[in-house]
């Protein structure tokens, strides 16, 4: 597969959230604010690119019987790098994302790409695949946060680490705080997936 195709693949055609349905937990838990979504998405992108590169370089040396533990060690190393750097430079974001930063290790997207792509393709294509998948994940998180943040808090684009309080859309007492609860996450993602299906079906009907 050409590197460019590997890159664009992850963004829409095989979007990890909307199409492959991988990595639901962080998606729902973190998409309370656009800044959280971007932070989580970029952290996962870094891990994806790093682990895809290393696994692709090592793919001829890793025996296939123990490949999963090997992949996990590589992924966990990159997650540790992200975890410690985020704690140092973006402490408030680290606080908000909490347990979900170390849990990037068990995010199915990363292991799935290592297994399905990086262990079979060269380093350049693997980097592009990691970048595409990571940005696709980030994009999905931003779309969900764009709905949940204003509905739940009345504010949009608030970013505590940058000292930015966000743009006030309406007073907080009119906000439906239930949208920032897990309830809102599950229902928003469910309806968005329904919408994606509807659009895909319409396209298919036109072609067929």
């Amino acid at each position: 597969m050409s590197p460019l195709k590997a890159f664009t693949n992850g963004i829409y055609k095989e979007n990890p959230i909307f199409k492959l349905l991988l990595g639901m937990c962080p998606t729902i838990a973190v998409s309370l604010a656009v800044s959280n979504g971007i932070g989580m998405g970029l952290a996962a992108t870094f891990v994806l690119v790093g682990s895809n590169l290393i696994i692709s370089l090592l793919r001829k040396f890793i025996p296939s019987e123990i490949r999963i533990p090997c992949f996990i060690v590589v992924i966990a190393t990159f997650v540790t790098i992200v975890d410690l750097s985020m704690e140092a430079y973006l402490p408030q974001l680290h606080q908000v994302l909490g347990v979900f930063v170390p849990l990037i290790v068990v995010n199915c997207i990363i292991l799935a790409r290592a297994e399905a792509f990086a262990s079979k393709n060269g380093p350049v294509a693997s980097i592009m695949d990691g970048l595409g998948m990571g940005l696709g994940f980030t994009l999905a998180l931003v779309v969900i946060s764009l709905i949940r943040e204003p509905l739940g808090t009345g504010v949009i684009f608030a970013a505590a680490d940058l000292g930015f309080d966000g743009i006030k859309l309406f007073p907080a007492e009119y906000a439906a705080s239930v949208v920032t609860q897990p309830v809102g996450g599950f229902i928003t993602l469910g309806l968005l997936l329904g919408l994606v299906n509807l659009i895909t079906d319409k396209k298919k009907d036109k072609q067929g």
């Binding site: 349905l21 991988l22 639901m24 937990c25 729902i28 838990a29 999963i68 533990p69 996990i72 060690v73 966990a76 190393t77 997650v79 540790t80 975890d83 410690l84 347990v99 170390p102 849990l103 290790v105 068990v106 995010n107 199915c108 292991l111 239930v178 609860q181 897990p182 309830v183 809102g184 996450g185 599950f186 229902i187 993602l189 469910g190 309806l191 997936l193 329904g194 919408l195 299906n197 509807l198 079906d201």
Partner: protein, 198 residues
């Protein structure tokens, strides 16, 4: 004793792993087509979460802390959990073929269940001792089990309902989970310690 009851109740209900902390969504939606398979998966999860909580506590306190290698926590925990799941699988296969038949196919899936690594890290952050960690793991597993069994029962009924084509499968499952989470929202802010007279 009371402290353990508080941990049990808050991990299973107030901070339900699935519906309040949002951990373990993939298997929750993937293995909830039937109550029977959901029960099998839940048993495996309760078991692994309890054992993993205890083992990761030992690793943290007897290996990582004395060697000043707390920064290796994520790497160490995930390796221990992966090895543990393999080990449990082998032990069950040898000692109890009938249990293996019931749980066998679910065990390998558990390594990537984020509830297991999640509970290990949550126990560490809450500073639990060995017994408290194990209880917290078991309670977390039981809470997850409660959620998935309730959900599977709803999904069995849902198969007969007329659902718009675009909403079939994942979308409707997520909306249903949302409504279940709303029911569990009733527990939020519930002060377990005060309720038990502590």
């Amino acid at each position: 004793m009371r402290q353990l009851l508080v941990i049990l109740f808050s991990q299973a209900f107030v901070n339900n792993f699935m519906l309040s902390r949002i951990l373990g969504t993939c298997p929750f939606i993937g293995v909830s087509q039937q109550v029977e398979t959901a029960t099998g998966m839940s048993l495996a999860v309760v078991f692994v979460m309890t054992v993993a909580s205890a083992i990761t506590w030992l690793v943290q306190n007897f290996i990582l802390n004395p060697l000043n290698m707390a920064y290796l926590q994520t790497v160490a925990f995930i390796l221990v959990i992966a090895a543990l799941v393999q080990l449990i699988e082998m032990v069950i296969k040898k000692s109890s073929p009938s249990l293996y038949r019931a749980l066998g196919i679910y065990l390998p899936l558990i390594t990537t269940n984020c509830a297991v690594l999640g509970v290990a890290i949550i126990n560490y952050q809450a500073n639990y001792n060995l017994l408290e960690s194990a209880v917290s793991g078991a309670a977390g597993g039981l809470g997850w089990a409660l959620a998935i069994i309730l959900f599977a029962a709803i999904r069995e009924r849902q198969r007969l309902a007329p659902i718009p084509r675009a909403m079939e499968g994942f979308p409707i499952a997520l909306v249903t989970t949302g409504l279940l989470a709303m029911a569990f929202l009733g527990f939020s802010g519930f002060d377990v310690a005060r309720f038990m007279g502590l």
